[in-house]
Subunit: 243 residues, 2 copies
DNA sequence: CGTGAACTTGAGTCTCCTCAAGAACTGTGG
DNA sequence: CCACAGTTCTTGAGGAGACTCAAGTTCACG
């Protein structure tokens, strides 16, 4: 693999929902120096792992886009997040014999597999790694809670606005445009993640487009006014009402 | 303090929402042997810490009951969890200079303070501690996601049912009755946690009582039929419809 | 016994969901 | 290159669940 100095959980916490966080300094190459890493390639639709499979490794996203979800025996499903380059996957299964959720590629992905026992061992050898890993988990926790906040306190349209801003910020952190990007997930996925129905997501997007804050062309999104979108997403009255 | 071999995050993941998890084996006494612990006593209404205060330690609940919440600058609030004996607090602030949320006692509490740098150092000296701490964080992650699932996929009454079952299970794990307990938090707190209004929580409780699954007397809860409550909470059609 | 907080209950409203139909795009095979 | 099916997305109409507003009750505490 080329020398990509990616960072784990480079994404800060959810946009506009809690204090911004610096990217933890876990260098995947530093890990690779101590852990026998494997590379895996996934095509869109393939699973990285499924709930119930034995937990043996953490995964680092080198390229691509994935969806993590929880499925219950009675068929309910909850998308708990979307991952892109630099994100860590599988951490929630630490301490469990099996994976607790499903991760599926939404795109062609390149994944670095980090066998967990080896990672643990490496942590003892490299103290910084230990702290960095803890930090990665804590960052995950903060991110989840930011979304709990969004889902618990914002209307449908505001959740969608926040979702777009979060994506924008993450794309920006990876060097892509923050104002023009293509959604890799369906409306159903977005809705499931935000605790909304897909029709509601569509309506929210349509309405945001009608008010001129964004432009929508199927999965292509263009953000016209980040500031107004932010005002909407964080519920700060003024500009939000104007929209 | 008496020699209580408490475990961190002894509570399994949220009831009926995802696979049950074994309690991680982090013995607070083992930690105490390597870390200079401090004890703190809190009265109901006092804060253990607030968002913005410097992050310096993790906290272990030795007795009492606490509420964790996220507050935004525009006044929105999200309760992200309730903690009781054996739970770890402050983990979500690891890697952040300051605490990211508020923790307030709902009851008289006894808290063991574990200075974070010392905990990190102890992890290197005691490998098991390292794994146990990671596990505690992962358990938190699983718990949060189980609630995301509940909030995203269940109706108000089912969320409340799941909430009661979760509490029951946690009380049981601590050796208390799983079928008869007193809520330490207000309807407002429950509602905020479950993304509902307090009137809705009251109505859900009233209706559960009317159907005979529970008895409610202000904050005193008596569970009459755990199985029917479970059927309701996990959305498994049959018994749920009968109720 | 008075005050305030917490809880309960009702009535009306609104947001979001449900159901349904149609449009746009994708990939396949003729 | 076009027809076809399948999926995804859009939009509308109607309904249901949860919210809002409001009043009244109970309880805790001084």
């Amino acid at each position: 693999m080329s020398a990509v100095a990616s960072t784990v959980s480079s994404t800060a916490s959810t946009h506009a929902l809690s204090p911004r966080l610096p990217a933890p300094a876990l260098d995947i190459d530093a890990v690779a120096a101590h852990v026998p890493v494997l590379r895996r390639r996934l095509l869109a639709g393939q699973h990285l792992f499924r709930a119930g499979q034995p937990f043996r490794a953490l995964y680092f996203v080198h390229a691509g886009f994935l969806r993590t979800s929880l499925v219950t025996s009675d068929g309910r499903e909850q998308v708990t997040g979307f991952s892109m380059r630099g994100d860590l996957l599988g951490a929630e299964s630490i301490g469990s014999a099996t994976h607790v959720n499903d991760v599926v590629a939404l795109d062609t992905c390149e994944i670095v597999e980090l066998p967990y026992p080896a990672v643990l061992a490496a942590c003892l050898a490299v103290p910084q790694l230990h702290g960095a890993l803890m930090q990665a988990l804590a960052t995950e926790l903060r991110r989840d809670r930011s979304w709990m906040l969004a889902i618990g306190t914002l209307s449908a349209e505001r959740r969608v606005a926040g979702f777009l801003l979060d994506l924008a910020e993450r794309y920006k952190a990876l060097g892509f445009s923050a104002s023009h990007f293509v959604l890799r997930m369906s409306r159903v996925d977005i809705g499931n993640f935000l605790a909304l129905k897909h029709e509601t997501v569509t309506r929210a997007l349509s309405h945001l487009a009608a008010t001129g804050l964004i432009e929508v062309d199927r999965r292509e999104i263009r953000i016209r006014s980040t500031s107004q979108l932010e005002a909407l997403a964080c519920g700060c009255g003024d500009e939000a009402r104007a929209a």
